[in-house]
């Protein structure tokens, strides 16, 4: 049987399980393609 300490560690691991965002490529600085500019409020504002 799993010792109690192990049970809580395993459950904690389940709670903190990395998801696909965590596995994605690191977000590092890149020279922006384009400068900021005021665009229409109707345009999508999230990439």
């Amino acid at each position: 049987e799993m010792p109690n300490k192990m049970v809580s560690q395993l459950e904690s691991s389940l709670l903190n399980c990395p998801d696909s965002l965590d596995a994605d490529s690191p977000y590092l600085y890149q020279i922006p393609l384009s400068l900021p500019h005021p665009t229409s409020i109707f345009f999508p504002n999230e990439p």
Binding site: E1, Q9, S13, L14, N16, P18, L28
Partner: protein, 512 residues
């Protein structure tokens, strides 16, 4: 303090990476200065610097707003480690030693955090760092390291590629769930990482298979330990689900890995995981066209594919040890004394606790049984290729005789174990599957069992039905033999007493 100084230097690095592209000349200058100004001059200062940077990065993660950027420092650390790997001169130590230092420091910091009784351990920053290292390496190695301008460095890195993955796998092995349960789900995510698993599966000459098998066996052993009858925790159920999903991915992309390693996978798979067993044993080589196993016209002996021996990555001969001589001698000339030697050698000295369907302990060495049976099958396949199928598809051949005698003379448990392993050999169309169909059909109808015919038949049917009962997939060879038994005029399943004794089974067979 020294640690505070290291923190300052590392923080400068993190800030720098937020302002310039990582391929900018400034980055190169920073790294150069790190080395020239003595921050990384000695191996112990290097270790301290990495340790301090990792601790700081993990602390930053824990203290960051969870809705914001929590991995800024970790991402920067991953980048720094790989830049150092590429830019250093490696006069004092090798690339391999460098990697081992990095991973050792990681292990140190990680273990201390994990064992910290306060429960503040979080697997995510450690996962992220390892994921980033995999990412950086996969970018670097692309198209044979073509982005590395110096040809000498390019050559060295290319030579190190297989070692990189094997070193990474070795450290993953140290981080396995038994050792660090708080990292279990991150660990499973790492062994199946898109920048680890498919690459390791395809390294030249199967260079990554041995270590990958080690990791999968770590996972199976963990599952086996905690798959207790009547009481499986939710966490273990989730581990199982992730496991079968990964194996399905491998079966799709590189089925040869499952085919060639099935022996060791079966040795370590929990005994009640019937569907996962079927998934592994149902793997078919890419591009192979397989005829329907249910076709009335199907003639297994006429299939070209059924002349081919399947590849075996790990030769079971290595596990037969002291019984190799008696087994090989028996295959040359069968004898009762050799058989007795083999059978005695199969008995365990103590009970094995094995949670199976209908049993909880074993007295026979199941791994040794599997090794011997597979060895016999491999030898039979080779003989078929060397001489003719008459030598092997023959109830008088020593290959058939050995298996027959083990079943005949053995205890019920040994009969069961031998038959179970024989049925594992019913896989995709190949010479092993074909020969095993021959062996099992002959055993089922043989009159040579004296008063044990019914027992043998029941164990054979139990072993087949338990695999057919469960959700798909079902291995081709298994479906073939079961269909043939159902259709056979010689074998009248519904008239067998042991079938009638279990109405639930009788109903199923009636329906089929």
């Amino acid at each position: 303090t020294k640690t505070e100084k290291y923190h300052l230097v590392f923080t400068e690095w993190v800030k720098l990476l937020q302002r310039v592209d990582s391929d900018d000349k400034i980055i190169f200058v920073f790294i150069r200065q790190l080395i020239e100004k003595g921050v990384l001059a000695q191996s112990d200062s290097f270790v301290e610097f990495i340790k301090a940077s990792l601790e700081l990065s993990v602390l930053t993660f824990k203290e960051s707003d969870p809705t914001g950027e929590v991995f800024t420092a970790i991402d920067a650390l991953g980048k720094l480690l790989m830049k150092l790997f590429v830019y250093q001169d490696f006069n004092k130590y090798s690339r391999s030693e460098y990697m081992n230092i990095i991973f050792s420091v990681f292990l140190l910091v990680f273990a201390k955090d994990h064992e910290n009784g306060e429960g503040s351990f979080n697997e995510r920053p450690y996962f992220k760092l390892l994921s980033n290292i995999l990412y950086e390496w996969s970018i670097l190695r692309n198209h044979n390291f073509i982005k590395v301008s110096d040809s000498q460095t390019r050559k060295e890195l290319a030579n190190y590629d297989v070692d990189f993955y094997n070193t990474f796998a070795s450290y993953l092995h140290s981080l396995q769930p038994f050792a660090f349960p708080g990292f279990s789900f991150a660990w499973i995510s790492l062994i199946s990482h898109r920048m680890f698993l498919p690459i390791v599966l395809r390294l030249p000459q199967h260079g990554g298979w041995e270590k990958l098998m080690l990791l999968i066996i770590d996972l199976f052993k963990f599952l086996d330990q905690y798959t207790i009858k009547g009481n499986i925790s939710d966490a273990i159920s989730v581990v199982y689900k992730g496991t079968i999903r990964i194996i399905l991915g491998i079966s799709n992309d590189v089925p040869d890995f499952l085919i060639e390693n099935h022996y060791e996978l079966m040795n370590n798979l929990p005994a009640t995981y019937i569907q996962l067993k079927n998934v592994i044993l149902s793997a078919i080589p890419l591009k192979m066209l397989v005829p329907s196993p249910y076709g009335v016209e199907l003639d297994v002996d006429a299939l070209e594919s059924c002349e081919e021996p399947p590849m075996v990555f790990y030769d079971p001969v290595a596990d037969i040890a002291s019984l190799k001589k008696p087994v090989d001698n028996y295959l040359r000339i069968p004898s009762n004394s050799l058989l007795k030697t083999i059978m005695n050698g199969l008995l365990r000295e103590d009970y094995e606790l094995k949670s199976g369907i209908g049993y909880d302990t074993l007295t026979v060495n199941s791994k040794l049984v599997r090794a011997i049976v597979l060895h016999v099958v491999i030898e039979a396949g080779l003989e078929n290729g060397r001489t003719s199928s008459n030598a092997v598809f023959n109830t008088k051949s020593s290959y058939y005789q050995l298996l027959f005698d083990l079943v005949h003379e053995g205890s019920i448990e040994l009969k069961f174990q031998v038959i179970q392993v024989m049925i594992e050999q019913l896989r995709y169309p190949n010479i092993h599957t074909r020969w095993m169909i021959f062996v099992l059909k002959n055993m089922f109808t043989s009159e040579g069992w004296s008063d044990e015919k019914s027992t043998v038949q029941e164990i054979i049917l139990r072993s087949i039905i338990e695999r057919i009962l469960v959700n798909k997939p079902h291995p081709w060879g298994l479906s073939v033999i079961f269909t043939q038994l159902l259709r056979s005029d010689k074998v009248k399943l519904l008239e067998l007493d042991f079938i009638k004794r279990v109405p639930e089974i009788e109903n199923i067979i009636k329906q089929l």
